[in-house]
């Protein structure tokens, strides 16, 4: 498997397609820098605030926050790395030659998946470090340890999230013989997840379930349904989890019932600790992780028993 891993990793980093990834990184870094500049200018900054984290979470009027950028465009990296993983080998006629060598079939899949995972980890780490580094340069002081912990958590979350998209794209590459079909299906699911579910599907279904929004209770119900329905989408899960991890002021995820909201009102708005934030988003991470795992399981069952004709 190591042989396949190193070859694929070399392929990923050397391919022209990687330029797209680099382009996404550069834009992401510039994006962060722009927001940072606005934050510093705003002079509303007090020293006890988490300025490094705010580089990722605040929006600047025109631009949504950096974490949104990663949630929206990041999947493209995963898709670019995986959509032709298996079907291009098949089309080239190398798959049957590859599988005629004394290796296990899952080595092919695992090697490719790991190479993709490492590639996107490199990309994400580079991007986050570049933003933090530039922020240090602009502000002249280094992040606090809690910020480092939160950023690390965010990094892990992003890797899991992109790994889901990599798994999805590779699954498509097994099920669709044609690389173009596979890419289109992956991109369709990407649009559905990042865009359509939260904007159209979930609100429409919530309207159906709670037709009248008059009383306060109905409002809460409607919001609740809408939230839970949009949580079908991994992107929604990622956004919620990322917000919570990077912003210590987010003290809960989801819609509060009326009574609990009243309770919260009485509490003082104090930031929560990193471990508490992690507790809040643990379910989100678990769900994205298990979605990725089930996709891999589906690919396995299909690929392992398939006929490989040249």
């Amino acid at each position: 498997m190591t042989a396949i891993f190193w070859k694929e990793l070399g392929d990923h980093l050397g391919r022209r397609r990687f330029l797209l990834t680099l382009f996404l990184i550069v834009v992401g870094v510039l994006w962060g820098l722009f927001i940072l500049a606005r934050e510093v200018d705003g002079s509303s900054v007090t020293s006890n605030e988490f300025l490094f984290l705010r580089t990722f979470t605040s929006s600047s009027g025109v631009l949504p926050p950096v974490l949104f950028y990663i949630g929206f465009f990041g999947p493209l990296i995963g898709i670019a790395l995986g959509f032709d993983a298996i079907n291009s080998e098949r089309a080239q006629g190398t798959l049957s030659r590859l599988l005629a060598q004394p290796i296990h079939r899952d080595d092919v899949f695992n090697g490719k998946f790991l190479a993709g995972l490492v590639t996107l980890t490199i990309v994400l780490v580079a991007m986050i470090l570049a933003i933090v580094g530039l922020a240090m340069f602009v502000m002249g002081y280094s992040p606090r340890s809690e910020e480092v912990v939160r950023l690390f958590g965010f990094g892990v979350l992003s890797v899991v999230y992109l790994a889901f998209w990599l798994a999805l794209a590779m699954t498509c590459s097994i099920f669709f013989r044609n690389a173009v079909t596979s890419a289109l299906v992956s991109l369709g699911l990407w649009l559905l997840s990042t865009f359509l579910i939260a904007l159209l599907v979930a609100p429409a279904l919530a309207d159906l379930i709670v037709p009248a929004i008059e009383t306060a209770q109905q409002k809460v119900d409607h919001a609740n349904w809408q939230l839970w329905l949009s949580r079908i989408s991994p992107s929604q899960l990622f956004n919620e989890a990322a917000q919570t991890l990077l912003n210590p002021d987010v003290r809960f995820t989801g819609v509060l019932g009326l009574e609990r909201a009243a309770q919260f009102d009485r509490l003082e708005a104090t930031p929560i600790s990193a471990s508490q934030s992690l507790q809040l988003v643990w379910p989100h991470i678990t769900v994205v992780f298990s979605l990725a795992a089930s996709l891999i399981a589906v690919s396995y069952t299909k690929f392992m028993r398939e006929e490989i004709r040249s």
Partner: protein, 314 residues
């Protein structure tokens, strides 16, 4: 090891209603060059896929050097080289890099692999193109690279799926010589699927003919050609002019059973070798024999006997 290299019992593969392979019993001994013949769609490739564990049999068993290819594919693939019907390489890598990758997949150490790859590139006459990207290779060069790829793992058995397909005549001759060399000098057994009969006839020690998923005939070339009905001799005479007198005279010869003319070529079937008499007779009747050639009953005729009806049906 004494047992057969490959042994199948009642091997079958069905795709829905299509019976691609049906009840195949195959046995390949060490050191054999086995020709696996049949028209397209007769189940040759499917059988090969089952031998390699690249697809699962619907029924029956396969054993390759004592291993079940479905359950223990790596043990089989360690000793079996396989050249697929349309062999593919990574176009962005050079020929040498492609081979080095295969070596790595076979667990051959880098230093050893480099020497072996260089030697094999010489063997398949690709030394000069070794550092070119495979994307620029011709069909023949790819096929040769494929052979080097197969030999890299030092196999005991080599399975070639229609290796002459798309090669020019010189390429085919070269390939056949290489197969003979492999079999004789390196004692590698060869399982060769093909529909290029003349070639198979030259290199194979034993052949099996497939039709519609079943083995219809199997044996050595001698066994197959000897057992044919209407055996005996067939002579073709090319003459400068075909006249009725010549035909009548030829038919009158003793032991001649049949005599037909197609344009300036006269085919004569007889129970004995009467080539000299035929030439004399043609001359005596005012025509000149330009060429007299004897046709043995070739594999092709046997092959055609089995497949003509099928083609007529299609």
């Amino acid at each position: 090891m004494t047992g057969p290299l490959v042994e199948t019992h009642g091997l079958s593969k069905h795709y829905g209603n299509l019976r691609a392979v049906e009840g195949l019993d195959l046995r390949l001994e060490e050191g054999e060059v086995y020709g696996f013949l049949g028209p397209n769609g007769s189940g040759k490739s499917t059988t090969i896929l089952m031998i390699l564990g690249l697809t699962e049999p619907t029924a029956g068993t396969v054993s390759v050097m004592g291993h079940d290819p479905t359950r223990n594919p790596t043990a089989v693939k360690r000793q079996v080289g396989y050249l697929p019907e349309s062999v593919g390489f990574y176009g962005d890598l050079t020929g040498r890099q492609n081979l080095l990758y295969t070596a790595e997949l076979n667990g051959i150490k880098r230093r050893e692999a480099e020497g072996r790859v260089a030697g094999l590139l010489d063997t398949v006459q690709l030394h000069d193109a070794a550092n070119q990207q495979v994307a620029h290779y011709s069909r023949g060069m790819r096929q040769r690279l494929g052979l080097a790829d197969v030999l890299l793992k030092d196999p005991r058995l080599v399975i070639l799926d229609d290796p002459t397909l798309g090669l020019d005549p010189a390429g085919i001759q070269w390939l056949l010589r290489l197969i003979e060399q492999m079999a004789h000098d390196q004692n590698i057994s060869v399982f060769l699927s093909s529909h290029a009969l003349e070639d198979v006839q030259r290199v194979c020690s034993r052949v099996g003919i497939m039709s519609q998923g079943k083995m219809v005939l199997e044996g050595t070339i001698e066994q197959l050609t000897a057992g044919q009905e209407g055996g005996g001799f067939e002579v073709q005479v090319e003459v400068d002019v075909t006249t009725d007198a010549v035909l009548t005279a030829l038919r009158a010869l003793p032991s001649v059973t049949r005599c037909e003319a197609t344009g300036r070529v006269i085919s004569v079937a007889s129970t004995e070798d009467v080539r000299a008499r035929i030439a004399e007779t043609v001359l005596a009747n005012g025509a000149t024999p330009l060429e007299v050639r004897s046709r043995n009953r070739t594999l092709e005729e046997i092959y055609l006997r089995y497949f003509q009806p099928e083609e007529a049906r299609a």
